[in-house]
Point group: D2
Chain length 330, copies 4
Amino acid sequence: MNKMKTEIRRLAVYSSGGDAPGMNAAIRAVVRTASYYDLHVFGIYRGYEGMIDGDIVRLDKGDVGNIIHRGGTILKTARSTRFRTPEGRKLAYEALVANDIDALIAIGGDGTFTGGKIFFEEYGIPVIGIPGTIDNDLFGTDYTIGFDTAVNTAIEAVDRIRDTADSHNRLFFVEVMGRDTGYIALNTGIGSGAGAILIPESSIDVETLIKHLEKTAKRQKLFSLIIVAEGNENGNAQKLASEIRDRFPDYDPKVTIIGHLQRGGAPSALDRLIASRMGFKAVEAIIEGHTNKMVGIQNNQMKLIPFEDAINKSKDIDKDLLRMAEILSL
Amino acid sequence: MNKMKTEIRRLAVYSSGGDAPGMNAAIRAVVRTASYYDLHVFGIYRGYEGMIDGDIVRLDKGDVGNIIHRGGTILKTARSTRFRTPEGRKLAYEALVANDIDALIAIGGDGTFTGGKIFFEEYGIPVIGIPGTIDNDLFGTDYTIGFDTAVNTAIEAVDRIRDTADSHNRLFFVEVMGRDTGYIALNTGIGSGAGAILIPESSIDVETLIKHLEKTAKRQKLFSLIIVAEGNENGNAQKLASEIRDRFPDYDPKVTIIGHLQRGGAPSALDRLIASRMGFKAVEAIIEGHTNKMVGIQNNQMKLIPFEDAINKSKDIDKDLLRMAEILSL
Amino acid sequence: MNKMKTEIRRLAVYSSGGDAPGMNAAIRAVVRTASYYDLHVFGIYRGYEGMIDGDIVRLDKGDVGNIIHRGGTILKTARSTRFRTPEGRKLAYEALVANDIDALIAIGGDGTFTGGKIFFEEYGIPVIGIPGTIDNDLFGTDYTIGFDTAVNTAIEAVDRIRDTADSHNRLFFVEVMGRDTGYIALNTGIGSGAGAILIPESSIDVETLIKHLEKTAKRQKLFSLIIVAEGNENGNAQKLASEIRDRFPDYDPKVTIIGHLQRGGAPSALDRLIASRMGFKAVEAIIEGHTNKMVGIQNNQMKLIPFEDAINKSKDIDKDLLRMAEILSL
Amino acid sequence: MNKMKTEIRRLAVYSSGGDAPGMNAAIRAVVRTASYYDLHVFGIYRGYEGMIDGDIVRLDKGDVGNIIHRGGTILKTARSTRFRTPEGRKLAYEALVANDIDALIAIGGDGTFTGGKIFFEEYGIPVIGIPGTIDNDLFGTDYTIGFDTAVNTAIEAVDRIRDTADSHNRLFFVEVMGRDTGYIALNTGIGSGAGAILIPESSIDVETLIKHLEKTAKRQKLFSLIIVAEGNENGNAQKLASEIRDRFPDYDPKVTIIGHLQRGGAPSALDRLIASRMGFKAVEAIIEGHTNKMVGIQNNQMKLIPFEDAINKSKDIDKDLLRMAEILSL
């Protein structure tokens, strides 16, 4: 059932959920690959919201000619509560029918794919997903679009803070994105040579942290950068800093919350490359009759992962990297 | 009395207060210019703290050979409570005497210059100040070292947020530094094409802000970036955002606090240029017998401004720029 | 005659000659300021070429809503040989009449202003110029739009080369733009702490250069960066490098030509600020009845400079800066 | 013989050949991991040259405390002709013995590993290699240190040129590094959405190129960016541009040679991560008794590859990527 051989003629692409740098490179690849295979391509604005509203336009090769380097998504994105209702999905289906759309390519995360899966089950319009989320938390793909850029942006921010931290011999908490997962924090921490990394997957209490800091302080490492994932169970950076201020008055930790900075900016080389490859592969998968699958990259090869796996299975953080990070920070 | 013709032979330079990008370019210029005029140059670590502790080293031309592009300050910086006491200053004087230092160049803000001024009055060691602070709030100079970099960093951050704001049609508050003055916020706001700029010098209430936003919203400008100086009297970005959430529930504003990011990073072209010119001029001023003066740049010319003016007079924000910013944001 | 009080109703803006980062900020300011004063605004594509071809579109406030941070010019630019002929200018005039355009704002350099001046003399359509050129070689303004960005881009490039130069103890020639003037090279050289700066205004022969390099080499400064303006009379970077290879075989100098990199990229804070101010001022000048004048910034104040001065008078390079650069490089 | 279980106590690390961003992150990881395992660590300056000269220093954890973000290599690098002679290697051996060094970690490319292999065969000092070269042309590893940064730097440069190319509707040739291999050019081309990519592995003649450009020109894509690897057999960018000027006078192509820019700059997130992992793994491999092997990363797992394979086997370019790049550029 996940492979069906009706011929595809008119394909629509949309981005949904949080935006991520590299989404435009994926849109470009979808449009150009589809054109190469003589499909008509459409763009749906604002994800499922725009689908419901019929906010759908024809996209030509030229329309994606100067976007590969731009952050954000030219199709905009939104979260849709209406699409969670049968009425919303009915309107969406009618809008697609009105435009003769016979296949979909959805760029987003698990919420996006869940929507596409239900929609296929109800209305039979095949859908292929492209993993676009800075969090890199989707099972079945080594990278999601936007992750590499987000980590580079965070590291660049920490590099700047390093200058001032070093000038002042100070303790800095830097909070990066990642509500449920520590991928961004872990890679930012390793890449910025942080003194410690606090992530949901590996909680560490304030005493341990202070003990660790004192160990490094002994050998003249006079400033410390602590990377905190926003979802860390010890509380976020602000809370941690105030706890340390209370109990270890010698430290006057400063806090920076990088926040939405990480979502923007020109996509990195890697994100442009994988986004291009994923967009290319998604169109080929649609043409070959696949549906309800996410394009993934594993060991540098393109794969198709069933939506149920991408949505339900969880990707574990690499414990060896965590251990290495700790050893290198000492 | 502010000009005294004892020959200077051994000069010490230090940075004090908050660090600012470009301080290293100033240190390099001081060392090289002093060497050119056959003076011996010393660096004092951690500002007045290091002066008290005698943390003083010889600096050679080669020591400053690869620092012009580095953020922070190789001499580190600190705030010193001890230097506010006569005992502290006595220790500092003894350390200088022990090293035969007969003149000082102080890089910092008004606190730094106040310290230097008192110290000269007590001990007669001539001191020339170089304005190094990202806030650009010193009277007598069009630019302080670090300001241009801080504004560029803030604008670059807002550019990134713009990508994601545009993808989501959202309202964003971005808080930049500037506890008492809105220079960074004003220039960041103009340079990033912000929807509104909230600064200490020109308070605007939440109703006015919302009215302004609705005016721009009418012409399809679906996202808005509001730049807030940390000292804004309506409260900081977090407070403003929550007030708006309470009273205008349709908006779900996001907040980013750029924070210490603005202090770090490689200095901009302009900061390297003025820092080089100021370091150069400061040494010439010392040699010519000046003391208790800050080097300033006015209309692209180097000037000497008495410390009492630099410290006590205030620099007004340019109301015309504020008006222009408002017109351009509509 | 350079001030005429017919009421302006329909204003057109165009960019011409080489593009420069910040031109979009100027276009944005022109459109928004004109809208504020209830003028209709038009954009002419590809400078005088588009004027001749009638390639003219209405610009609304929303059309310039997301461009302040983009390099290049949304109106594109071109050099026009046709506009140098009476026939070409006649066609241009007819196209303007067809669109009821009664005033022009021209963004570009001296060629652009010369065109505007002749055109006004022939057809009486008032024109105000905005200095947009990375070369900063226009009389009457401290800055031209794009200069600060070009210098920052060049310095950033040299910073990267510094990493590898330092790792290898090598001699590097870096060629920056500036066919007739050394402003970019001078500021790049000071800002990047170059070992020597070779510009048209101050020629230095290869022997002198080598002697200078040997002087710095003595104190362990093992690598050297030489900044060369493309117009340097000793030949460009390639030629200099090969001459040194021939006569001083111990050196194996490497060459980088930064080239068109310097024209692109997001405009710097300063360029966005002055471009905004210049666009704002240009519209006010047009409304007040001025014509044949260039907006300039002098000592942080907006000025109007007659085209003949901007075109014919020359701006001298600051010899004191050259001398300082040399002292600091030793 | 490639695994030998004498206990290692004093380890030396060096970088050799061309420098690459991320080498410092590898040095840091080597020093910290070795310290963690209670080894003494030494740094050898300027690769084999410094080994011969005995330019060897003790490295402590603190010595690598603020280097992870710096381009180049703090140990400097050089090419050594002396080490190719038995006399040179004998001197090197004596210097290592004088310092009681009993194992080596060599960061570099195939020349570096060849040197290490011969040296082990002659003197029995175990050596593990870390692949540090921007070219990514070593068999047995998906990534070499510096490649990701070099591609990001090149793409960023092309993004800037894109601004000006777009403003002028021009044809641009951009030459990137890669004397024998097209990896940098291929990834830069895909990531920057180039109109064509000319690499050693896939030659394309000027007629074909022009035909391709005309095809894209038809659909209003008015500017084109062509990425050229320096080793392309049609000649480098300058030669190609002049050939096109001769035979297709309508085009006036511009050329930028990115050159040594690509070697410098702060390393990317990915380069810092793999460099850290490789340094970590190299020390563990040395402790476990391995020698004459290069650390590689394959499918995100660390591997040990015999030097003879890393040196002699060749890594093929991915033809599917080439085909995709062509389809996406149309």
